[in-house]
Symmetry: C2
Subunit: 186 residues, 2 copies
């Protein structure tokens, strides 16, 4: 395999080329927000783009690393900030690195052992998601929340657990402030 | 293991904390430049810092990734631009990602099969060094050449092969221009 280069726009997070590009609209996320009525009415009005991911694909073999960028747009569903689906890795023993280039938000994480932790990120924050921790991002700012990520190429995604049981915590605006809450307290 | 965050200064490449920090001065590199007489006289005058590496250490286990930053200062030994030692990985089947944040230079690479390739990098360039490719950076600009890197935690470094046999190519200033040359043609 031959070395290669891609270029990322450090402000927008857009790659000049990518092997996979996924876009998630409100309608792809209607089971992920607390206020299901609100999201339905928002979708009817305008099914906006919530986030997109640019992905560079390399052989899915030990020793290789996938990488790319995620761009999570600002917005809220009711009082809950826009978020990505989030996932565990299929190969649960794999870590992931998130490097925030622009904007601000949280890396929302929880472990198979039931622990949870949210890390605030802004330009220059590099977060390490150890093996066995599910992770999503939430944009609590007013501009796109742009991250570069790298992950072992064998990691894979497991979205099912999160789709079924969700994360324990989420982030809302409450009295003009960013507030991390347990969903059961909403 | 618990998730954690570090912060990188996107201009200087300095991490707000690191587990290992290495500094390489001219005297650490006297066998790496073509003009050995020139480097000896430079060291006698002032043994300047050529580069430094900030490293975040995680368990050296499959699924984890090390990361950090390298800051390669501008300068030349004779006409040859400042460079890092460069290395193969001990675990030869591991890749590495280099993400240039600031400055400009080249990622100089060659493979065990005798291929060689140099990629020009500037702010926003992300290069993929596949398994089995030795790699070093060269600063061909006038400001520090700052890169973020990530690598499988099991990769390890093999500096011996490069120290013994060097890279086939290097980068010099020739008639005011940046020029990649085969060392045998110097």
């Amino acid at each position: 395999m031959i070395p290669f280069e891609v270029r990322i726009d450090l402000k927008s997070g857009i790659l000049n080329k990518s092997d996979r590009r996924s876009k998630r609209y409100l309608s792809d996320l209607n089971s992920y927000f607390i206020d299901t009525k609100k999201i339905e009415s928002m979708i009817r009005k305008k099914n906006v783009l919530v986030y997109e991911v640019y992905e560079i694909v390399v052989p899915e073999e030990l020793g290789h690393m996938m990488f790319g960028s995620s761009i999570l747009y600002p917005g809220k569903v009711g009082s809950e900030y826009f978020l990505t689906k989030g996932h565990y890795h299929e190969k649960i023993e794999t870590a992931e690195i998130y490097f925030c280039l622009k904007g601000e938000g949280y890396l929302v994480m929880e472990s198979l052992e039931g622990e949870f932790l949210n890390i605030y990120m802004r330009s220059g924050s590099i977060a390490y998601v150890p093996p066995k921790w599910a992770h999503r991002t939430t944009n609590t700012g007013t501009e796109p929340f742009v991250c570069f990520y790298s992950v072992p190429a064998t990691a894979g995604h497991d979205y099912d657990e999160i789709e079924k049981n969700g994360f324990k915590t989420t982030i809302i605006e409450s009295e003009g402030k960013v507030k991390i809450i347990k969903k059961e307290d909403y």
